[in-house]
């Protein structure tokens, strides 16, 4: 009996203990679930929170009404903790190249490792590496002065290095985000000009060489990128990467800017219809041609036409010798594309062009004599539509030479016998024998970095091999992970409806959900099945490749703008800041919470990650509610609103503000609006 009692008590004790443990575990789970629920608080849910949490959220948000406040706005969303703010591995990826006049030396800019690298071309061995801060991107030689000129993209400057020592001798500030660089000599050093394309400030710097100084700043198109000069040094040509904003339902057009270097002024702006992403330009003096690679984009055609090759294709734009017209010819094939043309090099003696395809991992060799014959034989109507007839490229494309991953820039040896191609994402330079059109060897600058998920992701991002027939890569619409400035007709919500502005991927980490309709909760869904269904028309990115791709995208910092890099706010920006954070008008009239800037565009990411109706529904839209975009780097991502109807920040309020739904702004004077815009540009 006693034994049974002991057993019963022990059993009871075990049961109690078990219950206690179970209760404890259950309590923890409940508390964890509660915590998760708190962290998941979105619109309206905050009203049902315990008093302590309500007070906390009101205190931290500064808002009495926390119906639009999410815990995520603060927790896990400080910019310092975001992936793009973290250190990341660096890779010796070659960008711009230059060969010495004797052909014995090759110089490469390595932007990721802040280096300039000298290579012996006979042995394909690296001779020297020189540190140069500021993301050196392009190089050009001026051997009469013993100089190597280098564009430092992130420091907005051009540095002059002594060729003998590879040390920096002087430097000059230019516009924002310089990339393209070329030199033009009319003989005397005094009249020699260095031409720099400043991508982020949309202008062109003309530099004198001795001493190195800026003598003129000229307005370009949008994102000037590639530069070439005429053989006699009297002219320069600048390829502009983005189209000038055409308006919501008009075909885009970009610009090839011509400069008279004698007067230092713009001599012409050649219009490239329905074309953009021109990243290089070259001349053929013997025929008076100016050539620029381009992407013919058909953004207003529904994306359903991907399978028919009707979204984008690569080609060349040719400015005729009399400069009266621009002819576009294709460089793709009817069922094989060579996406993202990134450089163009011309051999004037053989009349050949080498066109680098950054997304197709190839160099296309184009016989310019054959192209000339084809142009002569073509009728006017044929010339007008040639860019759409991909099969004609077979008449002048001689060969396609495979390269490593993401070739970006190329240069030709002075005798034209060797072509060097920077394989950016392989950290190597490919040497090609232009007689046999076969690779001769490879200069390896460093390990490929395949242990780095960001690097692996960038390889996915820039690779067109994953899309149908290799038509485009992620980069085709998001150069540098940013925007192409166009709006597209996606078919997921009906053909012809809902033109959508292309949104930047820079600074996008932690700004879920994605898409203007806010339907994609994560980048994995956005870049995986969603991207495959709407765009790729092939198998989606999956598994590790998809993870790497999203890691890379989240590593992209917000766009660098002129305003954001200035440390202290100007008086106008300070006034604009006060307007942005205002809870009442200057007349002391309270601004309703839901119509304050900070309610939806809440720091630090300046988004509440929710859909909001701000009165911007267009005639063809099927909803009033659109995802609230983050505002980091917003100065650089025009146009604005979900369909790109606002071509400037001002237009958000001057033309497209409806009854103060998009923030109360009707009380603002023009001065106050200017102040607000100036502040927004600092984000």
């Amino acid at each position: 009996m006693k034994r049974r009692l002991i057993i019963a008590l022990a059993t009871a004790a075990i049961l109690v203990a078990g219950l206690g443990i179970a209760w404890s575990r259950a309590d923890k789970t409940i508390r964890q679930n509660a915590r998760i629920r708190v962290l998941d608080v979105v619109h309206g849910a905050g009203l049902r929170l315990p008093e302590r949490d309500r007070e906390h959220m009101q205190d931290r948000s500064g808002l009495e009404d926390i119906s639009n406040v999410s815990c995520r706005d603060c927790h896990g969303a400080t910019t310092n903790s975001l992936p793009w703010a973290q250190p990341r591995p660096r890779h010796a990826s070659p960008s711009g190249l230059a060969v010495s006049a004797r052909g014995d030396r090759l110089f490469a800019a390595a932007p990721d490792t802040d280096e300039v690298i000298e290579v012996e071309t006979s042995t394909l061995k690296v001779l020297r590496r020189a540190a140069l801060p500021g993301r050196p991107t392009s190089v050009v030689l001026h051997e009469p002065s013993g100089s190597l000129l280098v564009v430092c993209r992130d420091q907005d400057r051009v540095a002059r290095l002594d060729l003998g020592t590879l040390t920096e001798k002087e430097s000059v500030f230019v516009g924002l985000g310089p990339v393209g660089l070329a030199i033009a000599s009319q003989g005397a050093i005094e009249t020699t000009r260095v031409v720099v394309a400043n991508t982020l400030s949309d202008d062109i710097s003309l530099l004198a060489l001795q001493p190195l100084r800026e003598v003129r700043r000229l307005p370009a198109g949008r994102e000037p990128y590639g530069v070439a000069t005429s053989a006699d040094g009297t002219a320069a040509y600048v390829a502009n990467r983005l189209a000038v904003m055409p308006g919501i339902d008009r075909a885009p057009a970009s610009e090839l800017t011509a400069i008279d270097l004698v007067t230092g002024r713009i001599s012409a702006r050649h219009r490239l219809d329905s074309a953009h992403l021109s990243e290089a330009v070259a001349t053929l003096p013997t025929r008076g041609w100016i050539l620029t690679p381009m992407v013919r984009v058909r953004n207003l055609v529904p994306i359903t036409q991907v399978a028919r090759g009707w979204v984008m294709s690569a080609g060349l734009a040719l400015v005729t010798p009399d400069h009266s017209s621009v002819i576009q010819v294709p460089t793709d094939e009817a069922n094989r594309y060579f996406a993202d043309p990134s450089d163009l090099v011309i051999d004037p003696v053989r009349e050949r062009a080498y066109l680098v395809s950054g997304g197709g991992d190839a160099v296309s060799v184009i016989d310019l004599q054959r192209l000339h014959l084809w142009l002569q034989s073509a009728s006017e109507s044929t010339l007008r539509t040639a860019i759409h007839q991909l099969e004609v490229s077979g008449d002048y494309v001689l060969a396609r030479i495979p390269t490593g991953r993401n070739p970006r820039r190329a240069t030709l040896s002075p005798d034209g016998t060797r072509l060097f191609v920077s394989e950016y994402l392989d950290n190597a330079i490919l040497a090609i024998d232009t007689t046999t059109l076969k690779p001769q060897g490879r200069i390896v600058l460093g390990a490929a970095g395949l242990d780095d998920p960001i690097r692996r992701g960038e390889r996915m991002f820039t690779w067109a091999g994953k899309t149908f027939q290799g038509q485009f890569s992620c980069r085709s619409c998001h150069p540098d992970g940013h925007v192409d400035g166009l709006n597209y007709d996606f078919d997921g919500d009906g053909v012809g409806d809902n033109l959508l502005d292309n949104r930047s991927l820079q600074g996008v980490a932690s700004t879920w959900p994605f898409k203007w309709n806010g339907k994609n909760p994560s980048l994995e869904i956005q870049c995986g099945p969603r991207f495959a269904k709407v765009l790729m028309r092939t198998d989606p990115f999956e598994g590790q490749a998809l993870k790497d791709l999203t890691v890379y995208i989240q590593s992209l910092p917000p766009a660098r703008t002129r305003h954001a890099q200035e440390r202290a706010l100007s008086p106008a920006q300070e006034r604009g800041r006060a307007l942005f954070y205002a809870t009442e008008t200057p007349s002391r009239i309270p601004i309703p919470t839901e119509r304050r800037c900070t309610t939806c565009h809440r720091p630090p990411l300046f988004t509440n990650r929710a859909k909001t109706a701000v009165g911007t529904r267009g005639l063809n839209d099927t909803t009033d509610h659109f995802d609230t975009p983050h505002l980091l780097g917003i100065a650089a991502s025009a146009p604005y609103l979900h369909d790109g109807r606002a071509k400037s920040l001002e237009e958000l309020w001057t033309l497209y503000q409806t009854n103060d739904l998009h923030g109360v702004s009707s009380y603002m004077s023009k001065q106050q609006l200017n102040d607000l815009v100036e502040f927004l540009k600092t984000l």
Partner: protein, 398 residues
């Protein structure tokens, strides 16, 4: 051709008769000796009306650029004349509005900035980029005056003065809220060395020093709307319809007279007490300390002492009056005349004059340089030429 004479001048200028006839003038007496004037005179007019390709009767503004091309702002768009003739630039080319109000050249880039009734435009490399109050920081779409000073484009608009930094894209607005400005309606603007002069409708002249952020107002001390009660005491009137500055001298147009400020003292002129042909002065161009004034009664030229007035007779012939200090007026008829007596804009250098009128564009050929026998005026110290009134050849090498 009808002439009138003044006997007092006869004996003095007989020797110059042949030269005067050669200049296209048919004098009433041989007294009209342009070579004794302190500034050139227009010896012949060549006119361009709608029959000669102008798109409208009214020509609002004219500018000869440093590359030699002529820019003409009209009621119906912009024209540019090169060696092949006039070429129109219209709203179809991207111009924000057909009615052109003001022109200025960026002496560095050669870009032409165009003020219109709806927006500011930059013509660069043959392409037009528009700036509107709705898509940029432009204070107001009605852009009367425009000038380029260094990297800054200044505009006088119906709602304040705007300053666009072309390197940064940042706009500043100055109006009655943040500047010494009686009202925001600005008609004219001109860079003057380190300062900018703003012509304010009803507010006189505002001098702004951008580097210091200071504003100084010049108002009519009489504060009388219709009469210049005390001459030479300040601006003749607060209604500034236009102003310009060159070589240390500021000139002010009003609808009630004309003024000059040399940095130390003011001079004022009204039609009842001076050779000024009309109190209604609406445009002034300055070149080598000589003002070329557009009025509703023709073109008037003065260095402050001597005056030469050009008008059109009822019969369409040209009339030229020469007013020398303390001398009787000399009147002449000329073979050719201004296209119209209502003058809206002027551009002049040492060789030629271009005059925008209410009925066509006039090209005036100038007499030979008069040896620079100019009246001496004190000038502002160290005020370099930086704006579009500067000689066009003053472009630094690219």
């Amino acid at each position: 051709m009808k002439t009138t004479s003044h006997p007092n001048r006869f004996s003095r200028h007989t020797a110059n008769l042949a030269a005067v006839v050669a200049l296209g003038l048919v004098p009433s007496a041989p007294s009209a000796d342009p070579e004794t004037l302190p500034f050139p005179v227009i010896t012949r007019f060549e006119n361009f009306r709608m029959e000669q390709g102008m798109p409208s009767h009214k020509i609002h503004s004219v500018l000869k650029a440093s590359d030699g091309r002529l820019w003409v702002g009209t009621w119906e768009g912009l024209l540019v004349r090169d060696s092949k003739g006039f070429h129109p630039i219209t709203t179809a080319d991207g111009l924000s509005h057909k009615m052109i109000l003001g022109l200025a050249e960026d002496p560095t880039t050669g870009d032409i900035w165009v003020g219109t009734m709806r927006g500011l435009n930059r013509v660069s490399g043959g392409k037009v980029k528009a700036y509107l109050q709705t898509d940029s920081g432009l204070p107001n779409n009605v852009v009367y005056g425009v000038d380029v000073v260094g990297d800054h484009v200044w505009v006088a608009t119906a709602a304040g003065t705007g300053d666009l930094n072309t390197r940064t894209g940042v706009w500043q607005i100055y109006d009655h809220n943040n500047a010494v400005m009686h009202e925001p309606w600005c008609y004219s603007i001109k860079g003057a060395g380190s300062v900018v002069y703003i012509g304010v409708w009803g507010g006189g002249i505002v001098e702004h020093d951008p580097s210091r952020g200071t504003f100084k107002e010049y108002r009519d001390p009489d504060a009388d709307f219709h009469y210049d009660l005390v001459p030479d005491d300040g601006p003749v009137n607060d209604i500034t319809s236009w102003l310009t500055w060159d070589d240390g001298v500021l000139w002010q147009c009003t609808y009630f007279g004309f003024s000059r400020f040399d940095g130390r003292r003011w001079r004022t002129w009204v039609e009842s007490k001076s050779p000024l042909p009309s109190n209604f002065t609406q445009f002034v161009w300055s070149h080598r300390k000589v003002a070329w004034i557009g009025t509703d009664k023709g073109l008037s030229t003065t260095d402050g002492e001597t005056w030469v007035n050009y008008s059109v007779s009822d019969k369409g012939t040209g009339l030229m009056e020469i007013h020398r200090p303390s001398q009787p007026v000399e009147k002449h008829t000329t073979d050719t005349a201004l296209a119209h007596g209502f003058v809206l804009g002027v551009w002049v250098d040492d060789q030629e004059a271009w005059i925008a009128t209410s009925d066509g564009l006039s090209h005036g050929l100038l007499s030979a340089a008069p040896g620079r026998r100019m009246a001496a005026h004190p000038t502002l110290p160290n005020t370099p030429k930086t704006s579009t009134d500067s000689h066009p050849n003053n472009i630094t090498a690219p």
